[in-house]
Amino acid sequence: MLFPRKQPPVPPPRVVVTGAGIVTPLGVGWKANADGFRAGRVAIRPVTLFDVSRQRVKASGEVELPPALPDTHLPARQVRRLDRAAKLLLLAAREAWQQSGWKPSTDLPLVLGTTSGGMSLGQDYYRQAIHTPGSHRRQPTRVLHYQAQRQAIDLSDAFGFGGPIILIANACASGANAIGHAWELIRNGRAQRAMTGGYDALSQLVFAGFDSLQALSPTRCRPFDTRRDGLAIGEGAAVLTLETLEHSQRRGAIILGEIVGYGTATDAHHLTQPHPQGDAAFATMTAACQSAGVSPRQIGYLNAHGTGTPLNDSAEAAAINRWAGEHAAKIPVSSTKSGIGHLLGAAGAVEVVICLMALGEQWLPPTSTLETPDPLCAFPLVQKPAKAQLEYALTNSFGFGGANASLVLRRWE
């Protein structure tokens, strides 16, 4: 029964990460990405997936997909029908699943965040519907696989598990909200484990949308730089396997880190612009730290939303300054979007994995394109690869519609 619910356990169980899969423009898998983020590589390149000849901006963070997908329970016919977004998701999930050592079961919730599901299939459908309105060839498949729930079901089928599917579409905070929600499901005793994450593939509609808003950088995405002029769009996926500490220890699992706090709030200021003082961002960081039982001074690294747009970064800087107060000067902050672009529904999940890497391997990922830090920032911006001693990291995700989310992670020794 979804309701009435079981009484939540007291105290709530600790929730650990036992598997993490990641696909970004830097590569497929933990190692390629850890190497890339640690070194501060930039993977923004010319768009090849669709025509950008008439766009103002012509570069993005495209993923180089492997020629074949790994073997799963999906039949070849079903694999052929997967769109780009579903492939990104499957690749990330496969890595997390293998790492976790989980076995198929029928009670495993799947909580995913996405902004556009299989948008490229929707685009194909529309073009055919307009140009050859009498032809239905391949249209039913496009309709089915365009829908995010189909991608989620394909993922469940691929690994042979079942359970409730929850799809959160909170714009660019979707991935962080999904992980936060999965964390809450386990903390509230609704599940002992959950698979969660976020994904999005590049699509012409979304690229053109951000370009129409003049939100894309015509030069180089430089978060928190005085001369920042916009973001880069990217694509990717990250998937985590979460479980109670007790469950993971019982089966002798390798623990990658712990999720200890989650906060979410709504910025009602404007559909696409944050409140100038970052009120909701301040609220989410505060709430996430409260639920984690930590103060800003304990946060050793902050992975900012840091899109590189003038408005986002100034609002986020104001919020961080306010939230951290006198400790701001001691909290290293970076935006990893400088290297891979903004991965929209995948961003929050990918940035959680980056925090796990940083905590596990004790380094700080730089904002490698940063030239002149905005004096608004009262905090040190990580510009070069650096080693660090980290116990806690916080990651921010903010989206259109005022969807804001923050997560706090802890190192696992």
């Binding site: 979804l2 829908q147 599917i165 714009a171 509609l205 949308g209 808003l213 559909l271 519609g401 969807a403």
Partner: protein, 348 residues
């Protein structure tokens, strides 16, 4: 591990709202369902075809609701207008309490096709010339735009999720709202299901069932921990969402959902998802063939409104309890491509 033993965890329905092909409000919905006749379908032009599509769409509001003059709502597409109208009706006087900051409101918006009008329009503009594609339209294509506008209108800054999925997602949204309320993270929670008609979606659904008639609108339910209405309607239970990806699994999922809900008696109401389309209805009909009580099938009258239709089912069931027509009502949603899920409401 210890568990809390506290007072019973009750969730009450404090308000309902609806916008449907029957009109703006719960009253026209109630009247259309009481009449029991399918609403007439309208024609919707489909580019490239001489024969139009058939849909049931929401009639223009009369008078135009005041909220539509709000700066955030002037340029929105119908889905936002429907969601906001249904939400405000459900909230009633508590809208003022949200605005003055004395009530923390959670918002859960559930959609399947979402903001398709502007998505189609924006993509069409992009294909013609991306340099002139409207920056005002693009942000309205995002799934959570309606929930964001609603939050802005009310000044609601608490939890706000937009859930995607097939029509069963609306009942998942109710369970999420109940969780937020019981964990004291909000004082009240609105759950809305909303959709808007477009030739693109009507065209797409026709590929799967030629006789299906899509419709649009919204339904909203306002949940609280205490009841402020008479009679009080309480959320009794929501089943697990039973997943399926084939017709065979769909039948099994419907059976499992049915088995989780109370058996029912001759005085009870079942508000089902039947559309009078045998191909689509078979698995749900089979699951409920032994239902002993009255039945109401809003989709057969209003059309396949996807997430909005599941919301209408719940609104209709709750309204019937409020009208003291039945002491209890079950809602059955056997979705189109994801899950079978049900709920049960009782007069408390």
């Amino acid at each position: 591990m210890k568990v809390l033993s506290s007072e019973p965890e009750n969730i009450f329905i404090d308000g309902i709202g609806a916008v449907s092909p029957a009109g703006w409000g719960v009253l026209p919905l109630r009247e259309a369902l009481a009449k029991g006749e399918p609403l007439p379908a309208k024609e919707l032009a489909r580019p490239g075809w001489t024969r139009p599509l058939r849909v049931r769409s929401v009639p223009p509001p009369s008078p135009r609701p005041d909220f539509m003059t709000h700066p955030r709502l002037r340029r929105t597409s119908p889905i936002t207008q429907y969601a906001v109208a249904a939400a405000l009706e459900a909230l009633g006087d508590d809208a003022a309490r949200v605005r003055n900051g004395s009530l923390r409101l959670g918002i859960v918006l559930c959609v399947m096709t979402g903001c398709v009008n502007y998505s189609r329009r924006f993509y069409d503009e992009t294909l013609k010339d991306p340099a002139t594609a409207s920056p005002l339209v693009f942000p309205e294509t995002v799934f959570n735009a309606p929930a964001s506008h609603l939050a802005a209108l009310l000044g609601a800054t608490a939890l706000n999720y937009t859930l995607l999925g097939d029509p069963g997602t609306f009942l998942q949204g109710l369970a999420l709202a109940a969780d937020w309320l019981l964990s004291r993270r909000v004082d009240g929670c609105l759950v809305a299901g909303a959709e808007e008609i477009d030739w693109l979606t009507a065209d797409a659904y026709r590929l799967f069932a030629r006789k299906i008639i899509l419709s649009d609108g919204a339904g909203a339910i306002y949940l609280r921990r205490q009841s402020h209405t008479a009679p009080s309607v309480r959320l009794h239970c929501i089943s697990e969402p039973h997943l399926f990806s084939s017709k065979k699994q769909r039948a099994h999922a419907a059976q499992r959902m049915r088995a989780e809900l109370p058996a029912g008696n001759p005085g009870h109401l079942l508000c089902d998802g039947i559309q009078n389309l045998p191909n689509i209805d078979a698995q749900e009909q089979e699951a409920w063939q032994d239902w002993p009580g009255a039945r109401l099938s809003p989709r057969a009258i209003l059309g396949e409104g996807l997430a909005a239709a599941s919301a209408w089912q719940c609104v209709a069931a709750i309204d019937a309890l409020r009208q003291r027509q039945h002491p209890a009502a079950s809602v059955s949603v056997v979705g189109c491509n994801e899950q079978a899920i049900g709920a049960h409401f009782v007069i408390s």
